[in-house]
Protein backbone atom coordinates (compact mmCIF):
# COMPACT_ATOMS: atom_id res chain seq x y z
CA UNK A 1 0.00 0.00 0.00
CA UNK A 2 1.27 3.45 -0.93
CA UNK A 3 1.72 5.80 1.99
CA UNK A 4 0.80 9.46 1.95
CA UNK A 5 3.54 11.36 3.80
CA UNK A 6 2.64 14.87 4.96
CA UNK A 7 5.05 17.81 4.68
CA UNK A 8 4.67 19.08 8.21
CA UNK A 9 6.70 22.22 7.61
CA UNK A 10 3.64 23.63 5.84
CA UNK A 11 1.30 23.08 8.81
CA UNK A 12 0.16 26.20 10.65
CA UNK A 13 1.47 26.02 14.21
CA UNK A 14 3.78 23.06 13.75
CA UNK A 15 5.92 22.62 16.87
CA UNK A 16 4.66 25.70 18.73
CA UNK A 17 3.89 23.63 21.83
CA UNK A 18 6.85 21.27 21.58
CA UNK A 19 8.30 20.61 25.02
CA UNK A 20 11.49 18.58 25.21
CA UNK A 21 10.96 18.16 28.95
CA UNK A 22 7.59 16.48 28.46
CA UNK A 23 9.13 13.11 27.87
CA UNK A 24 7.55 10.60 30.21
CA UNK A 25 9.82 7.77 29.17
CA UNK A 26 12.35 9.50 31.41
CA UNK A 27 10.21 10.08 34.48
CA UNK A 28 11.72 13.24 35.88
CA UNK A 29 9.40 15.68 37.53
CA UNK A 30 10.63 19.03 38.76
CA UNK A 31 8.46 20.34 41.55
CA UNK A 32 10.71 23.08 42.91
CA UNK A 33 8.75 25.85 41.28
CA UNK A 34 5.32 24.39 41.98
CA UNK A 35 3.18 26.10 44.64
CA UNK A 36 2.77 24.08 47.83
CA UNK A 37 -0.19 21.75 47.92
CA UNK A 38 -2.21 21.00 50.99
CA UNK A 39 -4.20 17.86 51.53
CA UNK A 40 -6.13 19.78 54.20
CA UNK A 41 -7.99 22.38 52.18
CA UNK A 42 -11.01 24.55 52.89
CA UNK A 43 -13.84 22.22 52.05
CA UNK A 44 -16.56 23.94 50.02
CA UNK A 45 -19.86 24.39 51.87
CA UNK A 46 -22.09 21.33 51.83
CA UNK A 47 -25.04 21.19 49.45
CA UNK A 48 -28.06 20.39 51.66
CA UNK A 49 -28.72 16.66 51.49
CA UNK A 50 -32.48 16.67 50.92
CA UNK A 51 -32.65 13.39 48.99
CA UNK A 52 -31.05 10.00 49.46
CA UNK A 53 -27.51 10.09 48.10
CA UNK A 54 -25.63 6.82 47.79
CA UNK A 55 -21.94 7.50 48.22
CA UNK A 56 -18.93 5.32 47.61
CA UNK A 57 -17.67 3.67 50.76
CA UNK A 58 -14.17 4.60 49.59
CA UNK A 59 -14.84 8.08 50.92
CA UNK A 60 -16.12 9.13 54.34
CA UNK A 61 -18.93 11.40 53.27
CA UNK A 62 -21.00 12.89 50.50
CA UNK A 63 -19.12 15.41 48.37
CA UNK A 64 -19.86 19.10 48.80
CA UNK A 65 -21.99 19.05 45.65
CA UNK A 66 -23.88 16.22 44.00
CA UNK A 67 -26.62 15.53 41.49
CA UNK A 68 -29.93 15.43 43.30
CA UNK A 69 -32.60 14.85 40.69
CA UNK A 70 -32.74 11.04 40.60
CA UNK A 71 -32.53 9.44 44.05
CA UNK A 72 -32.81 5.63 44.10
CA UNK A 73 -36.38 4.32 44.00
CA UNK A 74 -38.25 1.04 43.58
CA UNK A 75 -36.63 -2.35 43.12
CA UNK A 76 -33.74 -0.79 41.20
CA UNK A 77 -33.16 1.46 44.21
CA UNK A 78 -33.02 -1.56 46.53
CA UNK A 79 -30.39 -3.14 44.28
CA UNK A 80 -28.41 0.10 44.12
CA UNK A 81 -28.40 0.37 47.92
CA UNK A 82 -27.03 -3.17 48.08
CA UNK A 83 -24.33 -2.31 45.53
CA UNK A 84 -23.18 0.70 47.52
CA UNK A 85 -22.37 -1.52 50.53
CA UNK A 86 -19.30 -2.62 48.59
CA UNK A 87 -16.28 -0.69 47.41
CA UNK A 88 -15.53 0.20 43.82
CA UNK A 89 -12.92 -2.53 43.96
CA UNK A 90 -15.63 -5.23 44.10
CA UNK A 91 -17.71 -6.84 41.37
CA UNK A 92 -20.44 -6.88 44.05
CA UNK A 93 -20.55 -3.13 43.54
CA UNK A 94 -20.62 -2.88 39.75
CA UNK A 95 -22.58 -5.92 38.61
CA UNK A 96 -25.63 -5.15 40.77
CA UNK A 97 -25.55 -1.59 39.44
CA UNK A 98 -25.74 -2.91 35.88
CA UNK A 99 -28.63 -5.16 36.95
CA UNK A 100 -30.33 -2.20 38.64
CA UNK A 101 -30.04 -0.21 35.42
CA UNK A 102 -31.90 -2.94 33.52
CA UNK A 103 -34.59 -3.21 36.21
CA UNK A 104 -34.88 0.58 36.07
CA UNK A 105 -35.71 0.36 32.36
CA UNK A 106 -38.67 -1.93 33.08
CA UNK A 107 -39.76 0.31 35.95
CA UNK A 108 -39.52 3.27 33.58
CA UNK A 109 -41.90 1.64 31.09
CA UNK A 110 -44.32 0.75 33.90
CA UNK A 111 -44.20 4.34 35.21
CA UNK A 112 -44.91 5.64 31.72
CA UNK A 113 -47.92 3.34 31.40
CA UNK A 114 -49.12 4.23 34.90
CA UNK A 115 -49.10 7.88 33.83
CA UNK A 116 -51.13 7.01 30.73
CA UNK A 117 -48.17 7.42 28.40
CA UNK A 118 -47.35 4.67 25.93
CA UNK A 119 -43.67 5.05 25.04
CA UNK A 120 -43.07 5.60 21.34
CA UNK A 121 -40.22 3.12 21.02
CA UNK A 122 -39.84 3.80 17.29
CA UNK A 123 -39.22 7.50 17.94
CA UNK A 124 -37.12 6.94 21.08
CA UNK A 125 -34.79 4.67 19.15
CA UNK A 126 -34.42 7.21 16.36
CA UNK A 127 -35.56 4.75 13.74
CA UNK A 128 -36.73 7.62 11.52
CA UNK A 129 -33.11 8.40 10.58
CA UNK A 130 -32.33 4.71 10.09
CA UNK A 131 -35.26 4.63 7.67
CA UNK A 132 -34.00 7.76 5.94
CA UNK A 133 -30.29 6.99 5.64
CA UNK A 134 -29.89 3.25 6.09
CA UNK A 135 -33.13 1.81 4.74
CA UNK A 136 -31.95 -1.50 3.32
CA UNK A 137 -30.03 -2.51 6.44
CA UNK A 138 -32.86 -1.26 8.65
CA UNK A 139 -35.52 -3.25 6.78
CA UNK A 140 -33.29 -6.34 6.83
CA UNK A 141 -32.74 -5.95 10.57
CA UNK A 142 -36.43 -5.51 11.30
CA UNK A 143 -37.39 -8.42 9.04
CA UNK A 144 -34.86 -10.63 10.83
CA UNK A 145 -36.23 -9.65 14.25
CA UNK A 146 -39.80 -10.34 13.12
CA UNK A 147 -38.83 -13.67 11.51
CA UNK A 148 -36.94 -14.84 14.61
CA UNK A 149 -39.77 -13.75 16.90
CA UNK A 150 -42.48 -15.43 14.81
CA UNK A 151 -40.34 -18.54 14.40
CA UNK A 152 -39.77 -18.78 18.15
CA UNK A 153 -43.47 -18.37 18.89
CA UNK A 154 -44.40 -21.02 16.32
CA UNK A 155 -41.77 -23.38 17.69
CA UNK A 156 -43.01 -22.95 21.25
CA UNK A 157 -46.65 -23.40 20.18
CA UNK A 158 -45.89 -26.54 18.20
CA UNK A 159 -44.28 -28.01 21.32
CA UNK A 160 -47.43 -27.26 23.33
CA UNK A 161 -49.63 -28.80 20.60
CA UNK A 162 -47.61 -32.02 20.64
CA UNK A 163 -47.91 -32.24 24.43
CA UNK A 164 -51.68 -31.67 24.34
CA UNK A 165 -52.12 -34.29 21.57
CA UNK A 166 -50.18 -36.85 23.64
CA UNK A 167 -52.55 -36.23 26.54
Amino acid sequence: MQTQRIDYTQINGWGVDADPENDPTYPMQHREDAPPRDIFYDRPPQQPITVEVLHSIERPDVTAVFGATLPPTGLSGVIRRFAFKYSENEYKHWLPLILADRVDVVEGVLKDLAHGHVPNIFAEKGYAVEWKYNRTAFVTKMATIVAVTVGTILLLNSGKDKKSKRK
Binding site: M1, A18, R59, D101, I121, K125, E130
Partner: protein, 384 residues
Protein backbone atom coordinates in the same frame (compact mmCIF):
# COMPACT_ATOMS: atom_id res chain seq x y z
CA UNK B 1 -38.02 23.20 30.09
CA UNK B 2 -37.23 20.84 27.26
CA UNK B 3 -34.55 18.26 28.00
CA UNK B 4 -33.16 15.02 26.69
CA UNK B 5 -34.14 12.03 28.82
CA UNK B 6 -32.60 8.54 28.90
CA UNK B 7 -35.16 5.71 28.92
CA UNK B 8 -32.91 2.66 28.46
CA UNK B 9 -30.26 1.30 26.09
CA UNK B 10 -30.62 3.05 22.72
CA UNK B 11 -33.80 4.83 23.88
CA UNK B 12 -33.87 8.57 24.53
CA UNK B 13 -36.47 11.27 24.09
CA UNK B 14 -37.07 14.97 24.53
CA UNK B 15 -39.44 15.75 27.40
CA UNK B 16 -40.52 18.63 29.58
CA UNK B 17 -38.68 18.64 32.91
CA UNK B 18 -38.65 20.98 35.90
CA UNK B 19 -36.29 23.95 35.68
CA UNK B 20 -32.98 23.42 37.49
CA UNK B 21 -32.55 25.28 40.76
CA UNK B 22 -29.66 26.75 42.72
CA UNK B 23 -28.81 24.01 45.24
CA UNK B 24 -25.51 25.34 46.55
CA UNK B 25 -24.21 28.88 47.09
CA UNK B 26 -21.62 28.41 44.35
CA UNK B 27 -24.13 27.21 41.71
CA UNK B 28 -25.17 29.00 38.55
CA UNK B 29 -28.02 28.31 36.16
CA UNK B 30 -27.09 28.49 32.49
CA UNK B 31 -29.44 28.84 29.53
CA UNK B 32 -27.92 26.45 27.04
CA UNK B 33 -27.22 27.86 23.58
CA UNK B 34 -25.29 24.95 22.06
CA UNK B 35 -24.97 21.35 23.21
CA UNK B 36 -23.15 18.47 21.58
CA UNK B 37 -23.58 14.74 21.55
CA UNK B 38 -20.18 13.28 22.43
CA UNK B 39 -18.76 9.92 21.42
CA UNK B 40 -18.56 9.06 25.10
CA UNK B 41 -22.30 9.76 25.42
CA UNK B 42 -22.72 6.68 23.26
CA UNK B 43 -21.39 4.50 26.10
CA UNK B 44 -24.28 5.80 28.19
CA UNK B 45 -26.71 5.55 25.28
CA UNK B 46 -25.76 1.91 24.79
CA UNK B 47 -26.29 1.17 28.48
CA UNK B 48 -22.64 0.35 29.13
CA UNK B 49 -21.97 2.66 32.10
CA UNK B 50 -23.14 1.30 35.46
CA UNK B 51 -25.59 3.45 37.46
CA UNK B 52 -27.07 5.22 34.45
CA UNK B 53 -30.53 5.89 35.82
CA UNK B 54 -33.65 6.11 33.69
CA UNK B 55 -34.69 9.75 33.57
CA UNK B 56 -31.13 11.09 33.38
CA UNK B 57 -30.32 14.02 31.11
CA UNK B 58 -27.00 13.57 29.33
CA UNK B 59 -24.77 16.23 27.86
CA UNK B 60 -21.35 17.35 29.07
CA UNK B 61 -20.47 19.60 26.13
CA UNK B 62 -22.43 22.82 26.29
CA UNK B 63 -22.16 26.58 26.32
CA UNK B 64 -24.76 29.07 27.41
CA UNK B 65 -25.80 32.31 29.01
CA UNK B 66 -25.72 32.70 32.79
CA UNK B 67 -29.26 33.47 33.96
CA UNK B 68 -28.93 33.02 37.73
CA UNK B 69 -26.07 32.78 40.22
CA UNK B 70 -25.80 31.62 43.81
CA UNK B 71 -24.83 34.08 46.59
CA UNK B 72 -21.15 33.02 46.60
CA UNK B 73 -20.55 33.27 42.85
CA UNK B 74 -18.21 36.15 42.04
CA UNK B 75 -16.27 35.17 38.91
CA UNK B 76 -19.18 35.25 36.47
CA UNK B 77 -22.36 37.31 36.36
CA UNK B 78 -25.84 37.08 34.93
CA UNK B 79 -25.72 37.71 31.18
CA UNK B 80 -22.23 36.27 30.65
CA UNK B 81 -21.91 33.76 27.83
CA UNK B 82 -19.76 30.94 29.13
CA UNK B 83 -17.88 27.85 28.08
CA UNK B 84 -18.74 25.15 30.62
CA UNK B 85 -15.92 22.58 30.94
CA UNK B 86 -17.27 19.06 31.08
CA UNK B 87 -15.64 18.51 34.48
CA UNK B 88 -17.30 19.63 37.69
CA UNK B 89 -14.41 20.86 39.84
CA UNK B 90 -14.21 22.64 43.19
CA UNK B 91 -10.88 24.36 42.47
CA UNK B 92 -9.51 23.86 45.97
CA UNK B 93 -9.16 20.12 46.73
CA UNK B 94 -5.83 18.32 46.71
CA UNK B 95 -6.22 17.38 43.05
CA UNK B 96 -7.61 20.67 41.76
CA UNK B 97 -4.61 22.35 43.44
CA UNK B 98 -2.42 20.34 41.06
CA UNK B 99 -4.40 21.42 38.01
CA UNK B 100 -6.11 18.04 37.88
CA UNK B 101 -9.54 19.58 37.40
CA UNK B 102 -10.80 16.33 35.87
CA UNK B 103 -10.08 14.51 39.12
CA UNK B 104 -11.76 16.78 41.67
CA UNK B 105 -12.39 15.08 44.99
CA UNK B 106 -15.43 17.17 45.91
CA UNK B 107 -17.56 16.59 42.83
CA UNK B 108 -18.53 12.94 42.74
CA UNK B 109 -19.88 11.19 45.82
CA UNK B 110 -20.71 8.00 43.97
CA UNK B 111 -17.25 6.93 42.76
CA UNK B 112 -13.75 7.96 43.75
CA UNK B 113 -12.05 6.78 40.56
CA UNK B 114 -13.72 9.39 38.40
CA UNK B 115 -14.37 13.07 38.91
CA UNK B 116 -17.69 14.82 38.50
CA UNK B 117 -18.93 15.09 34.93
CA UNK B 118 -22.09 16.78 33.72
CA UNK B 119 -24.73 14.38 32.45
CA UNK B 120 -22.61 11.29 32.72
CA UNK B 121 -24.47 8.85 35.01
CA UNK B 122 -24.38 8.59 38.78
CA UNK B 123 -20.99 6.94 38.46
CA UNK B 124 -19.81 10.45 37.54
CA UNK B 125 -21.76 12.35 40.18
CA UNK B 126 -25.38 12.17 39.06
CA UNK B 127 -25.47 15.70 37.66
CA UNK B 128 -28.01 16.48 34.97
CA UNK B 129 -26.34 17.48 31.72
CA UNK B 130 -26.60 20.21 29.17
CA UNK B 131 -28.73 18.54 26.53
CA UNK B 132 -31.50 20.72 27.83
CA UNK B 133 -32.67 24.30 27.70
CA UNK B 134 -31.17 25.06 31.11
CA UNK B 135 -28.53 23.42 33.29
CA UNK B 136 -27.35 23.71 36.86
CA UNK B 137 -23.60 24.41 36.97
CA UNK B 138 -21.98 23.73 40.37
CA UNK B 139 -18.76 25.49 41.42
CA UNK B 140 -19.50 28.33 39.02
CA UNK B 141 -16.46 30.30 40.22
CA UNK B 142 -14.17 27.61 38.87
CA UNK B 143 -15.23 25.97 35.61
CA UNK B 144 -17.31 28.39 33.54
CA UNK B 145 -15.15 30.64 31.38
CA UNK B 146 -16.48 33.72 29.61
CA UNK B 147 -16.50 33.26 25.85
CA UNK B 148 -14.10 35.81 24.32
CA UNK B 149 -15.78 38.52 22.24
CA UNK B 150 -16.16 37.50 18.63
CA UNK B 151 -15.72 33.79 19.21
CA UNK B 152 -18.24 31.68 17.30
CA UNK B 153 -20.48 29.64 19.61
CA UNK B 154 -19.76 26.60 17.45
CA UNK B 155 -16.06 26.97 18.23
CA UNK B 156 -16.80 27.66 21.89
CA UNK B 157 -18.91 24.55 22.43
CA UNK B 158 -16.13 22.33 21.12
CA UNK B 159 -13.76 23.88 23.67
CA UNK B 160 -15.76 22.18 26.44
CA UNK B 161 -14.37 18.74 25.60
CA UNK B 162 -13.39 17.76 22.05
CA UNK B 163 -10.55 20.25 21.58
CA UNK B 164 -9.03 19.96 25.07
CA UNK B 165 -9.35 16.18 25.04
CA UNK B 166 -7.67 15.89 21.66
CA UNK B 167 -5.00 18.32 22.82
CA UNK B 168 -4.40 16.55 26.13
CA UNK B 169 -4.18 13.23 24.30
CA UNK B 170 -1.29 14.65 22.29
CA UNK B 171 0.21 16.29 25.36
CA UNK B 172 0.11 13.05 27.37
CA UNK B 173 1.74 11.24 24.46
CA UNK B 174 4.95 13.17 25.27
CA UNK B 175 5.57 13.90 21.61
CA UNK B 176 9.11 14.93 20.78
CA UNK B 177 10.00 16.76 17.58
CA UNK B 178 10.01 14.37 14.67
CA UNK B 179 8.11 11.58 16.46
CA UNK B 180 5.74 9.28 14.62
CA UNK B 181 2.32 9.51 16.28
CA UNK B 182 -0.32 6.87 15.70
CA UNK B 183 -3.93 7.71 16.55
CA UNK B 184 -6.60 5.04 16.84
CA UNK B 185 -10.01 6.47 15.98
CA UNK B 186 -11.09 9.19 13.55
CA UNK B 187 -14.01 10.43 15.61
CA UNK B 188 -14.00 14.08 16.71
CA UNK B 189 -11.42 13.52 19.49
CA UNK B 190 -9.16 11.39 17.31
CA UNK B 191 -9.32 14.01 14.57
CA UNK B 192 -8.43 16.76 17.04
CA UNK B 193 -5.64 14.65 18.58
CA UNK B 194 -4.13 14.16 15.13
CA UNK B 195 -4.32 17.90 14.47
CA UNK B 196 -2.81 18.74 17.85
CA UNK B 197 0.03 16.22 17.45
CA UNK B 198 1.52 18.63 14.91
CA UNK B 199 1.43 21.45 17.47
CA UNK B 200 3.74 19.38 19.64
CA UNK B 201 6.16 18.82 16.79
CA UNK B 202 5.22 15.39 15.44
CA UNK B 203 7.14 14.36 12.35
CA UNK B 204 4.49 11.97 11.13
CA UNK B 205 0.85 11.42 12.10
CA UNK B 206 -1.02 8.26 11.17
CA UNK B 207 -4.71 7.63 11.91
CA UNK B 208 -6.49 4.27 11.77
CA UNK B 209 -10.26 3.82 11.65
CA UNK B 210 -12.74 1.75 9.67
CA UNK B 211 -15.06 4.47 8.39
CA UNK B 212 -13.86 5.76 5.03
CA UNK B 213 -15.69 9.07 5.29
CA UNK B 214 -14.02 9.81 8.61
CA UNK B 215 -10.62 8.82 7.25
CA UNK B 216 -11.15 11.19 4.32
CA UNK B 217 -12.12 13.94 6.75
CA UNK B 218 -9.10 13.55 9.01
CA UNK B 219 -6.78 13.17 6.03
CA UNK B 220 -7.79 16.68 4.95
CA UNK B 221 -8.38 18.27 8.35
CA UNK B 222 -5.34 17.24 10.38
CA UNK B 223 -3.78 16.70 7.74
CA UNK B 224 -2.29 13.25 8.09
CA UNK B 225 -1.92 9.76 6.75
CA UNK B 226 -5.12 7.80 7.33
CA UNK B 227 -5.86 4.14 6.73
CA UNK B 228 -8.82 1.81 6.99
CA UNK B 229 -7.75 -0.96 9.36
CA UNK B 230 -10.11 -3.37 7.62
CA UNK B 231 -8.06 -3.00 4.43
CA UNK B 232 -4.50 -3.23 5.74
CA UNK B 233 -4.51 -6.68 7.33
CA UNK B 234 -3.03 -6.84 10.81
CA UNK B 235 -2.87 -3.17 11.87
CA UNK B 236 0.06 -3.76 14.23
CA UNK B 237 2.09 -5.42 11.50
CA UNK B 238 1.17 -2.59 9.14
CA UNK B 239 2.47 0.01 11.59
CA UNK B 240 5.67 -1.95 12.19
CA UNK B 241 6.31 -1.97 8.45
CA UNK B 242 5.60 1.76 8.30
CA UNK B 243 8.10 2.52 11.06
CA UNK B 244 11.22 0.58 10.11
CA UNK B 245 9.91 -2.36 12.18
CA UNK B 246 10.19 -0.41 15.44
CA UNK B 247 6.64 0.74 16.09
CA UNK B 248 5.23 4.23 16.50
CA UNK B 249 6.91 6.52 19.05
CA UNK B 250 3.58 7.49 20.58
CA UNK B 251 0.14 5.95 20.26
CA UNK B 252 -3.15 7.60 21.20
CA UNK B 253 -6.27 5.57 21.96
CA UNK B 254 -9.13 7.88 21.00
CA UNK B 255 -11.67 5.08 20.67
CA UNK B 256 -12.51 3.55 24.04
CA UNK B 257 -15.23 1.07 24.84
CA UNK B 258 -17.06 1.01 21.50
CA UNK B 259 -14.10 -0.29 19.49
CA UNK B 260 -14.68 -2.59 16.53
CA UNK B 261 -12.15 -4.87 14.88
CA UNK B 262 -11.99 -7.92 17.14
CA UNK B 263 -14.86 -10.39 17.53
CA UNK B 264 -13.84 -11.60 21.00
CA UNK B 265 -13.54 -8.03 22.31
CA UNK B 266 -16.85 -7.07 20.73
CA UNK B 267 -18.73 -10.00 22.24
CA UNK B 268 -17.21 -9.72 25.70
CA UNK B 269 -16.96 -5.94 25.84
CA UNK B 270 -19.96 -4.60 23.97
CA UNK B 271 -22.55 -7.35 23.72
CA UNK B 272 -22.31 -9.21 27.03
CA UNK B 273 -20.53 -6.59 29.20
CA UNK B 274 -18.18 -9.25 30.57
CA UNK B 275 -15.51 -6.57 30.37
CA UNK B 276 -15.73 -2.81 30.62
CA UNK B 277 -16.07 -2.22 26.91
CA UNK B 278 -14.21 -3.52 23.90
CA UNK B 279 -10.51 -2.81 24.37
CA UNK B 280 -9.44 -3.51 20.80
CA UNK B 281 -7.87 -0.10 20.23
CA UNK B 282 -5.93 -0.23 23.49
CA UNK B 283 -4.77 -3.77 22.72
CA UNK B 284 -3.47 -2.64 19.34
CA UNK B 285 -1.96 0.51 20.85
CA UNK B 286 0.18 -1.46 23.29
CA UNK B 287 1.36 -3.76 20.52
CA UNK B 288 1.92 -1.04 17.88
CA UNK B 289 4.00 1.36 19.98
CA UNK B 290 7.79 1.07 20.01
CA UNK B 291 9.73 -0.25 23.01
CA UNK B 292 9.99 2.55 25.55
CA UNK B 293 7.16 4.38 23.80
CA UNK B 294 4.13 6.10 25.19
CA UNK B 295 0.48 5.08 25.05
CA UNK B 296 -1.92 7.92 25.74
CA UNK B 297 -5.48 6.91 26.57
CA UNK B 298 -8.40 9.31 26.23
CA UNK B 299 -10.87 6.71 24.99
CA UNK B 300 -13.38 6.02 27.73
CA UNK B 301 -13.77 2.61 29.34
CA UNK B 302 -16.04 1.41 32.13
CA UNK B 303 -15.02 0.92 35.76
CA UNK B 304 -14.47 -2.87 35.78
CA UNK B 305 -11.83 -4.82 33.84
CA UNK B 306 -10.51 -5.01 30.28
CA UNK B 307 -8.52 -7.59 28.37
CA UNK B 308 -5.28 -5.97 27.24
CA UNK B 309 -1.75 -7.37 26.81
CA UNK B 310 -0.34 -5.80 29.95
CA UNK B 311 2.59 -8.23 29.85
CA UNK B 312 3.71 -6.69 26.59
CA UNK B 313 3.46 -3.25 28.15
CA UNK B 314 5.87 -4.33 30.86
CA UNK B 315 8.24 -6.17 28.56
CA UNK B 316 8.40 -3.21 26.17
CA UNK B 317 8.98 -0.67 28.93
CA UNK B 318 5.99 1.38 27.99
CA UNK B 319 4.66 4.46 29.64
CA UNK B 320 0.89 4.46 29.75
CA UNK B 321 -0.79 7.76 30.49
CA UNK B 322 -4.47 8.52 30.63
CA UNK B 323 -6.87 10.89 32.28
CA UNK B 324 -10.11 12.74 31.98
CA UNK B 325 -9.14 16.04 30.45
CA UNK B 326 -8.37 18.96 32.71
CA UNK B 327 -10.35 21.41 30.58
CA UNK B 328 -9.91 24.46 32.77
CA UNK B 329 -6.12 24.06 32.80
CA UNK B 330 -5.98 23.98 29.01
CA UNK B 331 -8.59 26.58 28.06
CA UNK B 332 -6.35 29.69 27.94
CA UNK B 333 -3.90 28.01 25.57
CA UNK B 334 -6.65 26.52 23.40
CA UNK B 335 -8.62 29.76 23.15
CA UNK B 336 -5.40 31.28 21.83
CA UNK B 337 -5.01 28.48 19.30
CA UNK B 338 -8.58 29.00 18.07
CA UNK B 339 -8.30 32.78 17.90
CA UNK B 340 -4.98 32.58 16.07
CA UNK B 341 -6.44 30.19 13.49
CA UNK B 342 -4.19 27.28 14.38
CA UNK B 343 -7.25 25.23 15.35
CA UNK B 344 -10.62 25.33 13.63
CA UNK B 345 -12.98 23.32 15.84
CA UNK B 346 -16.30 24.18 14.21
CA UNK B 347 -15.24 22.48 10.99
CA UNK B 348 -15.96 19.21 12.80
CA UNK B 349 -19.67 19.97 13.10
CA UNK B 350 -21.57 18.13 10.40
CA UNK B 351 -25.12 18.06 11.77
CA UNK B 352 -27.30 20.50 13.71
CA UNK B 353 -30.55 19.25 15.11
CA UNK B 354 -33.26 20.91 17.15
CA UNK B 355 -33.31 19.48 20.66
CA UNK B 356 -36.72 17.98 19.98
CA UNK B 357 -34.97 15.56 17.59
CA UNK B 358 -32.43 14.35 20.12
CA UNK B 359 -33.34 10.67 19.57
CA UNK B 360 -32.57 11.02 15.88
CA UNK B 361 -29.31 12.76 16.73
CA UNK B 362 -28.17 9.88 18.92
CA UNK B 363 -29.09 7.28 16.31
CA UNK B 364 -27.42 9.29 13.54
CA UNK B 365 -24.18 9.60 15.49
CA UNK B 366 -24.22 6.10 16.94
CA UNK B 367 -24.85 4.36 13.61
CA UNK B 368 -22.51 6.77 11.75
CA UNK B 369 -25.25 7.66 9.29
CA UNK B 370 -25.14 10.45 6.70
CA UNK B 371 -21.35 10.86 7.16
CA UNK B 372 -21.86 12.20 10.66
CA UNK B 373 -18.75 13.49 12.43
CA UNK B 374 -20.17 15.76 15.12
CA UNK B 375 -23.84 16.54 15.81
CA UNK B 376 -24.94 19.50 17.89
CA UNK B 377 -28.31 20.19 19.45
CA UNK B 378 -29.97 23.58 19.38
CA UNK B 379 -32.47 24.27 22.18
CA UNK B 380 -35.75 25.91 21.17
CA UNK B 381 -34.92 29.04 23.18
CA UNK B 382 -32.04 29.80 20.81
CA UNK B 383 -33.01 32.03 17.93
CA UNK B 384 -29.67 32.24 16.09
Amino acid sequence: MLAMEYRGPKRVRAVQKPMPEIKHPEDAIVRVTRSCICGSDLHLYNGNVPDTRVGSTFGHEFVGEVVEIGPDVTNIKVGDNVIVPFNVSCGRCYFCQQGMFGNCHQANAMATAVGGIFGYSHTAGGFDGGQAEYARVPYANVGPTVIPPGMDLDDAVLLTDVVPTGYQAAEMAGIQKGDTVLVFGAGPVGIMAARCAWLFGAGRVIVLDKEDYRLEFVRNYAPCEAYNFEEIGDPVLFIKKQTDWLGADCVIDAVGAEAAGNVLQTITGRKTLLQAGSATALHWAINAVKKGGVVSIVGVYGPTDNLVPIGNAMNKGLTIRGNQTSVKRLLPRLIDHVQSGRLNPKALITHRLPMEEVADGYRLFSAKLDNCIKPILIPPTVTK
